[in-house]
């Protein structure tokens, strides 16, 4: 079995930003903030966050903040919870949460909570249990969970639970490993995991492991490296990670590396991208792969960063 080609992945991540020569790379500029989070968290997990100039990143992030307090995916774009959490997470990586007006960001987030406890992603009102996670995780990092109605938020998430133990986007929506991560993460952060049937959900999540060792996100789908993160982190939060075959999963992730040019893809032999590179490395971190920093399964940040946020004044 090959090893994790750490230096190649660092090189790859640093090079992604410079690529402006293909349609495929520029067409994702509206979610550059998510890209920054994926890339920089990977660098930190690999112990190489100092490979780039943090001031430049922080200045750019602050230019993406909207007057409402929310963050956009790039300069001049509209704000959304999706990008607000990524912005706050990247600032946390650099230990620069102090550049934020935390109350302003918190007001933006709590302003998106609806009467039934759910969250809209932005002012246009689309509701999704993912947005509940984004709001809860972000307010938790900012020490502002008291700004929202936690009880109602938790009840809304619980209402998205299905007979199979999983969670969907809205009540009655199909279970999906990504949605499950969001719901379980939000319940974990708010100390509400009693809403989860751990054996039942653990069962559903373990059934995501296919013959090759990789994990899929829904029944009958092909395995994909990104579910290494979503399924694994959920299993860890509900204390059932010993139920899957970890060695086979490690092998699957390592087989998705581009060992020549760096980066990780969704499946062996596919084209790499920064999204799957992050989820692959984060998955390996959860699997305690040697040489990687540990990652917190609920906040999706390195454990030392989370400790700094919660245990240091």
């Amino acid at each position: 079995m090959g090893e994790l080609v750490v230096d190649k992945h660092v090189e790859y991540i640093l090079s992604v930003e410079k690529r402006k020569d293909s349609f495929e790379s520029v067409v994702l500029e509206h979610l550059r903030m998510n890209g920054a989070y994926w890339g920089l968290t990977t660098l930190d997990l690999l112990g190489k966050l100092d490979a780039l100039d943090s001031n430049e990143v922080i200045q750019w992030i602050m230019k993406c903040q909207h007057e409402s307090g929310g963050f956009a995916g790039n300069i001049g774009h509209d704000p959304h919870l999706l990008y607000t959490l990524s912005a706050v997470q990247v600032l946390a990586l650099f230990d620069k949460l102090n550049v934020l007006d935390a109350d302003k960001v918190a007001n933006y987030i709590s302003g998106l909570q609806n009467e039934d406890g759910s969250f809209s992603g932005d002012e246009w009102g689309e509701v999704d249990s993912r947005f509940s996670y984004l709001a809860i995780c972000c307010l938790s990092i900012l020490h502002r969970l008291d700004k929202m109605n936690v009880e109602k938020a938790v009840n809304y998430i619980a209402s998205c639970k299905n007979v199979d133990g999983g969670f969907g986007c809205t009540p009655g929506g199909e279970s999906h490993a990504g949605q499950i991560f969001c719901c379980v993460g939000a319940l974990a952060i708010t100390g509400s995991l009693h809403h989860v049937d751990k054996d039942l959900l653990g069962w559903w999540l373990c059934e995501r492991q296919v013959k090759s060792g990789g994990l899929n996100g829904r029944p009958e789908k092909l395995p994909d490296v990104c579910y290494s993160w979503w399924v694994l982190s959920s299993l860890i939060m509900i204390d059932r990670v010993h139920w899957i075959n970890k060695d086979k999963l490690v092998k699957f992730i390592l087989n998705c590396q581009d060992t020549e040019n760096g980066g990780i893809s969704d499946r062996p032999e596919d084209a790499v991208d920064v999204f799957h590179t992050y989820f692959g490395v984060a998955g390996l971190s959860l699997l305690e792969y040697p040489g990687l920093k540990a990652i917190d399964p609920a906040h999706a940040l390195p454990v030392d960063v989370v400790n700094r946020i919660f245990f240091q004044k």
Binding site: G76, W124, G173, D197, D199, E207
Partner: protein, 426 residues
């Protein structure tokens, strides 16, 4: 790549003009795709009507539009720059009085560019948002309909576009109060999802949209959808999303039924019993015909659990179901015997090299274990007798010895059963 970077900015603007002109000249374009220019020739052979537009960059005919992959990068850059410039102008001057027509001119420019941009970058949220802003200001049904057309067009090249589906839900919610034909819309939307699901398999976003529509449907529509989607599901037995859609419909029917029982407006169980029984029979037939399909077995888990909860009396109720207990009084023992019989008939592996049969054996064994777990977890359970865990163990051993978590679960069930039996004997 080199060629693209050599296209000057002026050329890019011409490209954008050309693109927007094509879009304006045929507002009925219903499909767009990015293709290599060498494929334009093939398209010509297939088309039925006369050519509407063709050069090296675009091809348009029969309300279909193809964009050459060679021009995507400069075209996207031009569309994005034009849009971002237009909205910043609009934000600066858009609130001026409209006497000069300047503001409305800015508005239509930005709308035009946002359309071009979204046909190249389907999840460019700021462009969708701008359209929502303008359309909600005007509140004209015609304009809302245009948004449904545009998002359908975007979905034709990017069927998983989250923002396009989200835009449709926003439009539907906006017209929900004003338009008496909401049920028509729900029906048409459902058809659109089916059309897209046909081309884009296991599309979570599309099916999620269809599940969302259920809350807007009448009871008759729900029953109709259940009937209609059955055929499709039978032809796409690996598409879990379609079976989940049926779960959603059936739960909605069950919910309404329970309300009626609670209100005392009905004590009729036969209809709902029949729906469940038909679905169980149908799934059983599919399971036997299509060997080793996970989605079918998972759907059966749902069907059986809700059947046990609703139609049998020996199982203690959870509070949700107490109010709408059926009077049919099925026996849980008989039901489980039948399920065991089905599982046993599916667990023979004729040839070890044949993966589908191995999968079938695994799904049938885990299906029985899953049901047994659910029953033993239910409060106040009165087991007719200790379930035959020994034979289950044999099944698991044969089908999936490597799935260690199943053994954990089996141990827990055994422990629980022993406890219950001990208490009963005291």
């Amino acid at each position: 790549m080199r060629e693209e970077s050599m296209i000057s900015k002026g050329n890019s603007l011409n490209l954008l003009d050309e693109f927007e002109l094509i879009l304006e000249s045929d507002p009925l374009i219903d499909e767009v795709g990015f293709i290599h220019p060498s494929q334009f020739v093939t398209l010509n052979k297939e088309a039925t009507s006369s050519l509407k537009h063709e050069d090296a960059n675009f091809w348009s005919r029969d309300h279909k539009l193809a964009i050459s992959t060679d021009v995507l990068l400069p075209l996207y850059n031009a569309a994005k720059d034009a849009f971002m410039h237009a909205i910043s102008q609009y934000k600066r001057h858009g609130n001026l009085s409209d006497a000069s027509g300047y503001a409305s001119n800015l508005e239509s420019e930005a709308m035009k560019h946002s359309k071009a941009l979204l046909l190249l970058s389907c999840d460019f949220g700021t462009a969708w948002n701008f359209r929502k802003l303008i359309v909600s200001k005007k509140q004209k049904i015609m304009l809302f309909s245009d948004e449904l057309l545009l998002s359908a067009l975007v979905l034709s090249y990017s069927p998983k576009s989250e923002k396009a589906w989200c835009h449709r839900r926003w439009v539907i919610k906006m017209i929900a109060g004003k338009c008496s034909t909401l049920q028509d819309i729900a029906g048409k939307e459902s058809e659109l999802v089916e059309k897209i699901a046909e081309r884009s398999k296991m599309n979570y976003r599309a099916w999620n949209h269809r599940c969302w529509l259920v809350s807007y449907m009448t009871t008759e529509q729900v029953l109709h959808e259940l009937k209609k989607s059955r055929n499709w599901a039978g032809l796409h037995v690996a598409d879990n999303s379609c079976f989940h859609y049926r779960t959603r419909l059936m739960l909605r029917i069950m919910e309404e039924h329970c309300h009626k029982l609670e209100d005392g407006t009905s004590d009729e169980n036969n209809e709902i019993y029949q729906i469940w029984q038909e679905e169980l029979d149908w799934i059983e037939a599919l399971i036997k015909r299509y060997v080793g399909r996970e989605a079918l077995w998972l759907h059966r888990r749902f069907l059986s659990l809700s059947w046990i909860r609703h139609f049998t009396t020996t199982l203690g109720d959870t509070s949700n179901y107490r109010a709408c207990k059926s009077s049919i009084n099925g026996d849980i023992g008989i039901f489980m015997d039948n399920e065991l019989h089905l599982a046993n008939s599916c667990s023979t592996i004729p040839d070890n090299d044949f993966e589908d049969f191995q999968a079938q054996a695994m799904y049938s064994a885990t299906y029985i274990l899953w049901l047994t777990k659910q029953i033993s977890d239910s409060q106040g359970i009165e087991l007719p007798e200790k379930p035959n865990l020994g034979s289950l163990e044999t099944m698991l051993n044969m089908a999936c010895p490597e799935r260690s978590f199943l053994w954990d679960i089996l141990t827990r069930i055994t422990g629980k059963c022993d406890e219950v039996l001990k208490e009963n004997n005291c």
